[in-house]
């Protein structure tokens, strides 16, 4: 565990990619294979199951650190991370141990056999045998909140350098359903793929936005300049659902979401069409709610995703469909290297022979002869229930991960409104001691009504300025939230809007964020609730 804790600090200490890869390689060559696999599991989001809930962890930490509960909570607000707060508040340890990462994880997994008193005794003696950095990573693993400031691709890069395998091969091998107990390092890095996991998905190919930000819109001329002849490109609407890979192998079906969650059970409506497909088929597409031949807004899908049990009512209110846009395995063969045009032909054939065309839908190809045509069509995206376009090169293979060049997303410009900041709260992680989370309000007659929270979109310099303003202009404090003098106006962008009974303003926004700080505007110039409700129509 000490090696792992040191790895964590070393990764924290640099923001240079090469340096991170170097640190990872150094770590991988010094730790045993079990630790390598555990590390890989943690870095790819395969956390051990949480055996003690964080309320208990918190209350035992409070007890051990001997401070009142309110002070513990305030410390947590200052630090912004529970695992770190506990690591900082606990008394200094007097003992040490040399258990490896895998040994600790094995202990965590075996907690399932202990009762609460035994768990408590175990946790306290564990804490008292660790240094601060060890405690921190241990707490993160224990509470199931392990996240690192290093992307999966860097870990894969390090392993690729060590094993001599291609990064794309390794990326594929670590997809899907494995856990560190059943997977071993040697089979991961051997030449031939030894996996028999029939549920294993392919790494998703992800597109970059062609417009870097919504502030820098591109004209059709600029698009032409970067993409060239429109004849080489296929355009599809960009759907607002959940990206998913649907797999049928040997009569078994699997649906993976982009976050690498197995979501087969969440979408029973999709099972019949998948079972009917020829064995050895993998489709890439969008799981989306669909009724009367129309995609439904994302918030309808959202309400059913969180549910454990899909009731009859949910199935009626939010019926699912799958809009397929690619076929990446056909008749048991990986066809990712075929050009898109050929893959599309295969996909269309599969669709043709399906008897479930209401559920198994094809993402229509939008016909256009010039970028100008497409530019105009894009402005109508919302009428088509889409978020803009996906542009894909007809001769492109299906690549691994986010790559520039062959696939682009060209999103519709966000809706926007000018609003006044009225509450501020400290952020988390990197922004843990800065006021970075704001609540915005618009005018309802002569009152300011809150309607959205947003926390991204400002530069570090602007954040410092707003932070400074918040501290100087606090009217009231409610726990971590400060009411600030209404003075700063921001342009808030969002992707969509829906009626809501839960919000004071009567609307809920989809993906609100700060587009710009309007230092030129006074609060009287902010928008009104009427303007916002116009968007509902």
């Amino acid at each position: 565990m000490k090696a792992f804790a040191n790895l964590f600090s070393a990764l924290d200490e640099t923001n240079k990619t090469n340096e991170k890869v170097r640190v990872l390689k150094e770590y991988f060559v010094t730790v045993p294979d079990e630790d390598k696999i555990q590390t890989l599991a943690l870095f790819t989001g395969r956390k051990p199951k949480r055996q003690i809930n964080s309320t208990l962890v918190k209350s035992w930490a409070m007890e051990l650190s001997n401070i009142p509960a309110w002070l513990f909570e305030e410390s947590y607000h200052v630090v912004g991370d529970l695992g770190e707060t506990i690591a900082l508040l606990l008394p200094q340890s007097e003992e040490t141990q040399n258990k490896s990462l895998s040994e600790w994880i094995a202990e965590i997994n075996s907690l399932i056999f202990l009762n609460e008193q035994e768990k408590k005794a175990w946790l306290i003696s564990s804490w008292l045998s660790m240094e601060q950095q060890e405690r921190f990573v241990f707490n993160k693993i224990l509470t199931g909140s392990f996240r690192v400031g290093v992307s999966q691709s860097l870990v894969i890069k390090a392993l690729a350098d060590l094993s001599g395998l291609e990064t794309s091969v390794l990326t594929h091998r670590i997809m899907g359903n494995w856990d560190p107990k059943s997977f071993n390092y040697q089979s991961l890095v051997q030449k031939e793929d030894g996996s028999e996991d029939i549920s294993r998905p392919y790494p998703f190919y992800l597109a970059y936005p062609i417009q870097d930000t919504s502030d820098q819109q591109k004209s059709s001329e600029q698009i032409k300049e970067s993409l060239g002849d429109p004849l080489n490109w296929q355009a599809e609407w960009k759907w607002d659902g959940i990206r998913a890979q649907a797999i049928q192998r040997n009569g078994q079906i699997f649906i993976w979401s982009r976050g690498e969650d197995l979501a087969t059970d969440k979408f029973p409506e999709l099972h019949p069409f998948l079972l009917e497909l020829p064995a050895g088929t993998v489709l890439d597409g969008e799981a989306i709610c669909f009724a009367d031949n129309c995609p439904l807004p994302f918030n309808i899908l959202q309400t059913r995703i969180g549910r454990k049990n899909l009731t009859k009512k949910i199935l009626t209110d939010s019926p699912m469909a799958f809009i397929a846009y690619d076929c990446i395995e056909h008749e048991g063969n990986d066809i990712r290297d075929l050009p898109l045009s050929r893959r599309r032909a295969i996909l269309e054939k599969l669709h043709q022979s399906s008897s479930f065309k209401d559920v198994f839908r094809l993402s229509p190809v939008v016909s256009f002869s010039s970028w100008d045509d497409l530019y105009k069509l894009r402005l109508r995206s919302r009428d088509e229930f889409a978020e803009g376009f996906m542009l894909k090169k007809l001769d492109s293979p299906y690549l691994v991960g986010r790559k520039r060049g062959a696939w682009w997303k060209w999103k519709v410009d966000p809706l926007s409104i000018d609003a006044v900041m009225i509450y501020a709260q400290k952020g988390h992680g990197r922004r843990a001691d800065l006021y970075t989370d704001y609540t915005f309000a618009i005018w309802d007659q002569d009152k300011l009504v809150p309607f959205a929270k947003a926390y991204s979109g400002l530069t570090d310099k602007e954040i410092n300025q707003v932070n400074f303003f918040v501290k100087r202009n606090t009217l009231e404090k409610f726990g971590p939230v400060r009411t600030v003098k209404p003075q700063l106006v921001f342009e808030i962008g969002f992707e969509g809007i829906n009626k809501s009974t839960r919000h004071k303003s009567g609307v809920a926004l989809r993906f609100p964020r700060i587009l710009r700080w309007r230092q030129d505007k006074k609060i009287e110039e902010a928008d009104t609730i009427e303007t916002l409700k116009e968007f509902l129509k």
Binding site: D12, D81, L88, N464
Partner: protein, 393 residues
């Protein structure tokens, strides 16, 4: 009820019986200064009283002020009020101010730390009825390690950089932190270079008889190969400037109590963050307050709300004091020398807009320096002084 011995008004901490202020932020007739940092020692007062080891630094920072100096534990009397200075351990020459009148004793801590840093006279608790204490780091998550551990870390990192052929650049407040780091370095590794502002401060301290390790001004003419093995100490304002970039390749480390939290450390984007503070940590604050034997505590700087609540919980009559030191969490990195100084420490002729100075300071990463304390008339005085001082140092 009679008037309290010390009170907070719009100019600072005021003693009506003695008609003087402690660390005032607006111009007053008589200012007792805890230490020479810019948020405590401001321009424009008619008369100053401070500790003798602040003499040269105050003159360097504030120009030709009317300054009276005394030693620790050397009481003076004004209108029947007894004032004495007591070591605060914050920086060289930093003092707590003890004020006694008709048997009642108040102490103003200024900034302080409990650990003996080897260069500042160590903190001594002073018995009092009411204690005005800072609490910059008044949260239990702040616990300092012994400074030797931190210095070992800094020296090891320096050695590693020498091996990798990188210059070591370390950032710390120019008065206090810079000298503390300097004294903790292992000089067998290489030479120590300083940014002009720090070297001027070092010179001022040396004039006051403070013994510091040898340093050289870091200039572009300095021998590059020598510098690669060396360590440069510079103030927070130099981070990200072209001046600093000239020393590339380098590894750059920050020294501050704020480095205790991972978020703050990562935001700084430094290669290394060393948790080294000249303020008391949580344990130090609680221990010091208990040692004064006081009943009433007023809190300034930092987490005043939480800390006063905690002190009330454990039986003190504790209050948040509303000061203009800069609200909460204004950091120890918050350096605001009002003079314009170039990288060699030479004073630049100010342009007619004094704001330009604070604009230059925006590269201070943690927080913009507080803009309070400079009224238009103060600005005028400041500019006049800077002009008069031009080239004098």
């Amino acid at each position: 009820m009679s008037r309290p011995l010390l009170e907070f008004n719009e100019k600072g901490i005021f003693c009506s019986a003695g008609n003087f202020y402690i660390d005032p932020w607006r111009p007053v007739k008589y200012a007792v200064i805890t230490h020479a940092h810019s948020d405590h020692a401001k321009w424009g007062h008619q008369k100053y009283l401070a500790h003798k080891l602040s003499h040269e630094v105050l003159k360097y920072r504030l120009g030709n002020i009317d300054l009276e100096i005394i030693d620790y534990n050397e009481p003076i009397h004004i209108n029947g009020v007894t004032i004495s200075l007591h070591p605060a351990g914050h920086i060289i020459g930093s003092a707590q101010i003890r004020v006694e009148y008709k048997g009642e004793v108040w102490v103003v801590s200024g900034d302080y730390k409990v650990e003996d840093d080897g260069i500042s006279t160590p903190f001594e608790p002073v018995k009092c009825h009411s204690f005005i204490s800072e609490c910059t780091f008044g949260m239990p998550v702040y616990k300092w390690r012994p400074q030797q551990e931190i210095f070992d870390g800094i020296n090891n990192w320096w050695r590693l950089n020498v091996e990798e052929g990188k210059t070591t650049v370390i950032v710390g407040y120019s008065l206090g932190k810079a000298q503390r780091i300097l004294q903790g370095l292992d000089l067998s590794i290489g030479n120590v270079y300083t940014h002009g502002v720090i070297e001027n401060t070092n010179e001022a301290l040396r004039r006051d008889g403070v013994k510091l390790n040898p340093t050289q001004r870091a200039t572009f003419e300095s021998n590059k190969d020598e510098m690669r093995k060396g360590l440069i100490i510079c103030p927070p304002s130099s981070v990200g400037t072209p001046w600093m970039r000239k020393f590339y390749p380098y590894s750059f480390g920050y020294c501050s109590g704020w480095m205790a939290l991972r978020g703050a450390k990562r935001r700084r984007a430094a290669d290394r963050g060393f948790v080294l503070s000249d303020h008391a940590d949580w344990g130090g604050l609680v221990q010091s307050i208990k040692a004064t034997g006081c009943e009433t505590v007023y809190l300034t700087h930092g987490y005043t709300a939480s800390f006063s609540r905690y002190l009330c919980d454990i039986g003190y009559d504790a209050h948040e004091a509303h000061t203009l030191y800069g609200g909460d969490e204004i950091s120890e990195l918050d350096e605001n020398p009002v003079k314009l100084v170039n990288e060699y420490g030479e004073i630049i002729e100010p342009v007619d807009d004094a704001e330009k100075n604070s604009a230059d300071k925006e590269i201070i990463i943690l927080e913009k320096p507080s803009k309070i304390g400079l009224t238009d008339s103060e600005k005028a005085i400041a500019l006049k002084k800077a002009k008069r001082m031009g080239g004098a140092l």
